[in-house]
C-alpha cells in the first residue's frame, strides 16, 4: 500500500496491471449542518479510510452490519458521491477527482451498478426497451439493427424472452426486475460491476437464481464484481476475497477461505459466530460471541481502534492508537493491535 500512497494523483499509468480497481484511503464524510445559517457542526464519517485492490475477473465481497458504510462506499466508488479524500484508480486512471463530463467520456460505461431494491431501481414509466436503450443512446453505441440484436442478446443472457421488451416493470416480479437491472448494467459491456445488496430484497430461492446468473455472466463476459452485502453466506458463495467493514473502515481483508475459516480480527470472529450453521447431533454448540453495546455513531467514532468499545479483546492501547491496516499473513490484511 505504501507505494500507492506516494503515487501522484494525476499519474495515469500504474505498474500493477493485474488490478482493475485500486482504492487508496478513500473517505466520504457527510457534513452535518445546523441552524439557519447552515453552519457545519460536524460530519458523519460514513467511509473513513478504505484501501483495497481488486484484480481483474475476481469478486470482492464487502460485508458489514447496517450502517457501517458499505453502500456509501459502493456509491462513492462509482462516483455517485463526491469522495471527501483518497484516490480511486480504475484501470490505472485516477477517477476520484474527475468531473462528471470527464467521467462520462472515460469510465462511466466501464463501471456499472446493480441496485438493492428491484422495485425502486426501474423507472415505472419506462418500458423494458427504453430502460435498456438509455445507456446505448447516452454513449452512442450500436446503430440500427445492431441495437435490436444487442437488446435480444441482453434479454437472452438474463433469461427473458425478447417478446416482453415492450412491457413495463410493474408487470414483472422482484427477481425478474432484478434481472432487468442486471441486463441494464450489462448493456455497455462494463468491466466492473458494483452490486449493492443486489439480492437482499429477494426471496432465498430467487437469491440463488440471481447469484448463479451473476456467476455465469462473470465467466462468460470476464466481469469483475464488487459485491456489497450484509449476508455472510451469500458473500461466501460468490466472493473470491472478502473485506469486513466496521464503522467506515475495513477491519479485515483476505481470501474467502481465510476469512471464513481462520478469521483474525475479533469483529470478524464475532460476526461469523452469529451465522447459524448445521452441526452434527451431539456435537458441542459453537461458541457465540455476543458483542456488547450498539454500533457507535459514525458522526463521533471512538478514538483509537473504532472497534475497541465493543471488542472482547480490547486493551488500553486500543483506545489510544489507531491500528495499522497491514498484511499479517500472505494476502491477509488486518487492522488490529493483536497481530
Amino acid at each position: 500500500m505504501s507505494t500507492l500512497t506516494k503515487k501522484d494523483s494525476n499519474s495515469s499509468i500504474i505498474t500493477d496491471s493485474d488490478y482493475i480497481l485500486e482504492v487508496n484511503d478513500l473517505k466520504k464524510h457527510f457534513p452535518v449542518k445546523a441552524g439557519i445559517l447552515q453552519r457545519n457542526v460536524g460530519s458523519v464519517k460514513a467511509v473513513d479510510g478504505l484501501s483495497f485492490k481488486v484484480k481483474k475477473g475476481e469478486t470482492i465481497g464487502i460485508v458489514g452490519e447496517s450502517g457501517c458504510g458499505k453502500s456509501t462506499a459502493g456509491r462513492t466508488l462509482i462516483r455517485l458521491y463526491e469522495p471527501t479524500a483518497g484516490d480511486i484508480f480504475f484501470k490505472g486512471r485516477n477517477i476520484s477527482k474527475m468531473s462528471e463530463s470527464e467521467l462520462r467520456r472515460t469510465v462511466r460505461k466501464d463501471i456499472q451498478m446493480v441496485f438493492q431494491d428491484p422495485y425502486a431501481s426501474l423507472n415505472p414509466r419506462k418500458t423494458l426497451k427504453s430502460i435498456l436503450l438509455e445507456p446505448m443512446k447516452t454513449h452512442n453505441m450500436y446503430k440500427g439493427k445492431e441495437r435490436e440484436d444487442k437488446l435480444d442478446e441482453l434479454l437472452d443472457r438474463v433469461g427473458f424472452n425478447p417478446l416482453f421488451i415492450n412491457r413495463y416493470p410493474h408487470e414483472f416480479s422482484g427477481g425478474q426486475r432484478q434481472r432487468i437491472g442486471i441486463a441494464r448494467a450489462l448493456t455497455l459491456n462494463p468491466d466492473l460491476i458494483i452490486a449493492d445488496e443486489a439480492v437482499s430484497a429477494l426471496d432465498v430461492s430467487i437469491q440463488a437464481q440471481i447469484i448463479n446468473l451473476m456467476k455465469d455472466l462473470q465467466e462468460e463476459m470476464g466481469l469483475t464484481y464488487v459485491f456489497i452485502s450484509h449476508d455472510l453466506s451469500v458473500v461466501r458463495h460468490i466472493s473470491d476475497r472478502v473485506g469486513v467493514m466496521y464503522l467506515g473502515k475495513i477491519m479485515e481483508f483476505a481470501p474467502k477461505k481465510d476469512i471464513y475459516e481462520e478469521p483474525l480480527h475479533p469483529y470478524t470472529q464475532a460476526l461469523l459466530s452469529a451465522v447459524p450453521t448445521p452441526r452434527k447431533k451431539g456435537a458441542a454448540p459453537r461458541e457465540r460471541i455476543i458483542l456488547k453495546g450498539d454500533l457507535p455513531s459514525p458522526a463521533n467514532p471512538p478514538a483509537g481502534c473504532v472497534f475497541h468499545t465493543r471488542c472482547p479483546a480490547a486493551t488500553a492501547m486500543c483506545s489510544e492508537k489507531v491500528p495499522e491496516f497491514r498484511e499479517v499473513k500472505k494476502d491477509h490484511f488486518v487492522a488490529c493491535h493483536l497481530y
Binding site: Q38, R75, I78, L80, L103, R104, R108, K109, I111, Q112, M113, F115, Q116, D117, A120, S121, L122, N123, P124, R125, K126, E134, P135, T138, H139, L155, G159, F160, N161, L163, F164, N166, R167, Y168, H170, E171, F172, S173, Q176, G181, R184, T187, L188
Partner: protein, 304 residues
Amino acid sequence: MSQVNPEISQKELELNPNLMEKPDTLTKIFIRKFMKNKLAVVGAIFLLAIVLISILAPIISPHPYDQQNLLAKLQPPSADYWLGTDRYGRDIFTRLIYGGRVSLLVAFGSVLGAIVIGITVGALAGYFGGIVDAVLMRFVDVIISIPSIFLLITIVTIFGSSLQNLIIVFALTSWTGTARLVRGEFLSLRSREFVLASKTVGTKSYKIIFTHILPNAMGPIIVAATLLVGGVILSEAALSYLGLGIQPPTASWGNMLQDAQNYTVMLTAPWYPFFPGFLILLTVLSVNFIGDGLRDALDPKTLE
C-alpha cells in the same frame, strides 16, 4: 395486475398464442383508467362543452353581448332571454358564454404560466439542492409572505387590467405552491435508485430531469394545477368584485357576479347572481374531478 413469465419458451408461446399479444401502451392504459372514473369523465365532458360553447360564442349567442335594452332589464328567464337579463337589459346567457371566454382564458393561461415557473424553480431547487435550493426557496418564502391580493391590486392599478396583464399577474402570484411541491417531489425522486442508475450510466442532468424525474412527479403537479385553475377563477371574481378585474362592458363570470352583488338585484332577480355563480361552481368542480382522474390514471401503481 397480471404478471407475466418472461422465461417462457417459443414452444409454449405457440401453444398459447394470446401471450403473443402486444401489451397495451401507457397511453391506452391511461385512457382506460381515466374512463373508469365516472366523475372525471363527466367533468371532462362538461368542461369540454363549456370551452366549445365559449369558443363558438359569436355564432351561438342570440344577442350581442353588450346590447343594452333598458326596457327589458332584470327580466326573468324567457323564450327571448333564456337566462334572463341584467341591470342594463343585457342577455345573461350571451354574457355568460362570452364571459366564459375571458374567465377560462385567464384561468388556463395564468395556470399554465404559474406551472411553468413553478416547475422550473422547484426542479432547479430540488435537483441541485445546496445553495441553489436555499436561495430559490427563500425567494419563494418572500413571495408567499406578500399578501397576494394587495400585490394584485397594486400591479393591476399600475399596469391596468387588460386580459394579458391579468394573466401575467395571476401567473406571477400563484406559482409558489407549485414550486414547493415540485421541489419536494424532486428531492425524493432524485435519490431513487432508478435516477442513480441513470447517473451511473452517464445520462446528462437535463435528460434525467425530463425523462426520469418530471414524468414521475406529474401526478401531484396536475392535481395542484387543477386546484389552481379553480383558485384563479375565484381570484378573478374577487378582483372583479373590487372593480379591478376585467372591465365592463367585456363580460367575465367574476364581473357579472360583482354586478349582481346588490341587495335589490339579489332579491328581485335572484337568477342574475345565480347563473354566473353556479357556472363558476360547476367549472371549478369539474376541473377538480378531472384532476383527481388524471392523477389516478397517470400513476402506474394504481390498479386498473
